[in-house]
C-alpha cells in the first residue's frame, strides 16, 4: 500500500506546535513507516519551490499551525490548501488566532512604532520602519506585508479539520495523527483531539458554592490545590473552554487560560466566560458589582487570550 503523504507547516507561530509533534517521541519513527513526510520546513531543509512544484492535491494531509499575520503566511496557506486533500488547522493560532491575534487590540502602525521606534533597546535614528519594497543597488528587495488584523487559517482558506491547543498535548496529537492514518474521520469542519465538553467536566477540583466576592490574580495568592479556582476568585477559563488537554495547567495549580478554544455550541469563548463569571459575582448593588468587575484587569486579554481571531468582534476599533 502507498504511504500517506503528510505535510507540516507553520505560519505566524512560536514553534510550540512543532515541538508538540516531537512529543510523539519514538512513535514518530514508527509513524514514518506508515506515512511519508513530504514537507516540513521547521525540521528539514524544504524550499517553498518544492511545495510549488507539487501537483495540486498531491499531499494527503497538511497540518498548518500559526496564525495569518502577513502576506507570506496567507500565500503559503493558499498554496498548501491547493496541494493538499485535507488541510488541518493545527493548534490555537491556526484555529482561533492564538496569542498573535491579541495584536488585533492594536494596529500595524502602533506595533511598528513600538517595535522600531519607542522600545528603549531600539537604535533607529532614521526611524525606519519595514517597507514591503526597497530599492537597493542590487535591485528591489521585498518582504511580506504585515497585516493590521491577524486572521485564523479558515479566514483565508477552506479548512477541513481543527486541532486546538497551545500547543496540542502529546497524546491528543498522536490520536489525531493515527485518526488520519487509519482514515476514520468525522464530518468536515470537526474539531479533533479535544472533548466536546468544557474542562470543568474533567476537572478534579471540588466545587462548593458558585460565587465570587473578589477577583484575585495568580501572583497575589497560592490557591488551595483541591478547591475550584473560580471559587477562590481566580479567573479560570475552564467553564468556557474545551476539555481534552488533561487539565495540565490546573494540575500545576494554575488556572485554565482557554487555549483549547470555544465550546461547540457557543459563538464566542470570551463572551461566554465573561457572562458565566459575572453571573456569579456575589454582589447585589451597582457599587458592589462595579467593585468586583474592576478587579478584572484587561478583559480582552483575559477572556480572549487565545481566541481573539475567532471572536465575534475580532479586533478593537481604532
Amino acid at each position: 500500500m502507498t504511504k500517506q503523504k503528510l505535510a507540516f507547516n507553520w505560519a505566524s507561530s512560536c514553534g510550540g506546535c512543532e515541538i508538540a509533534i516531537f512529543e510523539l517521541g519514538t512513535k514518530l519513527i514508527e509513524l514514518t513507516n506508515k506515512v511519508e513526510i513530504v514537507f516540513w520546513p521547521a525540521i528539514m531543509d524544504y524550499k517553498y519551490q518544492d511545495l510549488e512544484a507539487k501537483p495540486d492535491g498531491n499531499i494527503d494531509v497538511a497540518f498548518m499551525n500559526g496564525a495569518i499575520q502577513n502576506s507570506e503566511n496567507e500565500h503559503i496557506a493558499k498554496m498548501l490548501r491547493a496541494k493538499s486533500k485535507i488541510l488541518v488547522a493545527f493548534g490555537a493560532c491556526a484555529y482561533t488566532g492564538g496569542i498573535p491575534a491579541l495584536a488585533n487590540t492594536t494596529t500595524r502602525d502602533e506595533i511598528f512604532t513600538n517595535s522600531y521606534k519607542d522600545t528603549p533597546t531600539t537604535v533607529n535614528p532614521e526611524k525606519i520602519v519595514p517597507q514591503t519594497k526597497v530599492q537597493t543597488k542590487e535591485g528591489e528587495l521585498t518582504i511580506p506585508e504585515f497585516y493590521n488584523t491577524v486572521k485564523t487559517l479558515d479566514q483565508v482558506v477552506d479548512v477541513d479539520y481543527y486541532v486546538p491547543g497551545c500547543p496540542p498535548v502529546g497524546e491528543q496529537v498522536s490520536k489525531v495523527i493515527t485518526q488520519f492514518v487509519e482514515g476514520q474521520l468525522p464530518p468536515k469542519g470537526s474539531v479533533l483531539g479535544a472533548s466536546d465538553r468544557s474542562l470543568c467536566y474533567e476537572c478534579k477540583r471540588v466545587r462548593d458554592e458558585r460565587k465570587i466576592g473578589k477577583i484575585v490574580r495568580t501572583y497575589q495568592t497560592i490557591p488551595d490545590p483541591q478547591k475550584c479556582l473560580l471559587e477562590q476568585g481566580i479567573i479560570c477559563m475552564g467553564p468556557a473552554t474545551r476539555g481534552g488537554c488533561g487539565s495540565v495547567c490546573l494540575d500545576a495549580n494554575m488556572p485554565c487560560r482557554g487555549c483549547y478554544g470555544p465550546l461547540p455550541k457557543t459563538m464566542d469563548q470570551g463572551g461566554k466566560m465573561l457572562s458565566a463569571l459575572s453571573s456569579i459575582f456575589d454582589a447585589q448593588t451597582e457599587e458592589d458589582i462595579q467593585k468586583i468587575a474592576d478587579g478584572v484587569e484587561d478583559p480582552i486579554g483575559t477572556f480572549y487570550r487565545f481566541s481573539m481571531g475567532r471572536s465575534l468582534m475580532r479586533r478593537t476599533k481604532k
Binding site: S278, I300, L312
Partner: protein, 142 residues
C-alpha cells in the same frame, strides 16, 4: 451625517420595559423609529455574546431594558443582567465601542415617557457618533 439613521436593537423584558414601551404607544407619545424591540421574558435572558453578535452583525447600538432593581418578576434577574453588563461595558470600552452605543436601562411598566425619552436620547447620541459598521471595521483594516 444627520441623514444617518441608526439601527438599534432593543431587548425589552416583557413584564416591565416592553409594557412600558406599549404604554408609550397607548399614550401616543412620539419617539424616533430607530429602536426595534425584541421581547424577552427577562433582561436576565440577555447574554453578552448576543449583544456583541448584534454589533458584529451591523447594529449601531443595543438597548437592554429591564425592571427596576427590586421589581424583577423573577426576583432578581435584572441584578444578574447588571452584573454581566458592568463587566461587558468594561470590555466594550477596550474594544473601542462608545458607551452610548450599549445601554442598560430600568424602565417600569408605568414609565412610557421614560421609554420614549431613552429612545430619543439614545438615537440622538448614536446619530452623532455615526455608524458603527463593525464588519467594515474588521474587513477594511485587515
Amino acid at each position: 451625517m444627520s441623514s444617518f439613521e441608526p439601527k438599534i436593537v432593543g431587548f425589552l423584558c416583557k413584564w416591565c420595559s416592553y409594557a412600558g414601551a406599549d404604554l408609550a404607544g397607548t399614550n401616543r407619545l412620539k419617539y424616533p423609529s430607530n429602536v426595534s424591540s425584541i421581547r424577552v421574558n427577562c433582561s436576565g435572558r440577555i447574554d453578552p455574546t448576543l449583544v456583541m453578535k448584534a454589533l458584529a452583525l451591523g447594529a449601531d447600538g443595543v438597548l437592554i431594558a429591564g425592571c427596576h432593581p427590586g421589581d424583577c418578576h423573577y426576583t432578581n434577574g435584572n441584578i444578574k443582567t447588571l452584573r454581566r453588563f458592568k463587566l461587558l461595558q468594561k470590555m466594550l470600552d477596550q474594544f473601542g465601542i462608545e458607551r452610548e452605543r450599549v445601554r442598560l436601562e430600568w424602565i417600569s411598566a408605568a414609565e412610557g415617557e421614560r421609554y420614549a425619552q431613552v429612545v430619543r436620547s439614545m438615537t440622538e447620541q448614536i446619530r452623532l457618533l455615526g455608524p458603527l459598521n463593525w464588519k467594515h471595521e474588521v474587513e477594511v483594516t485587515a
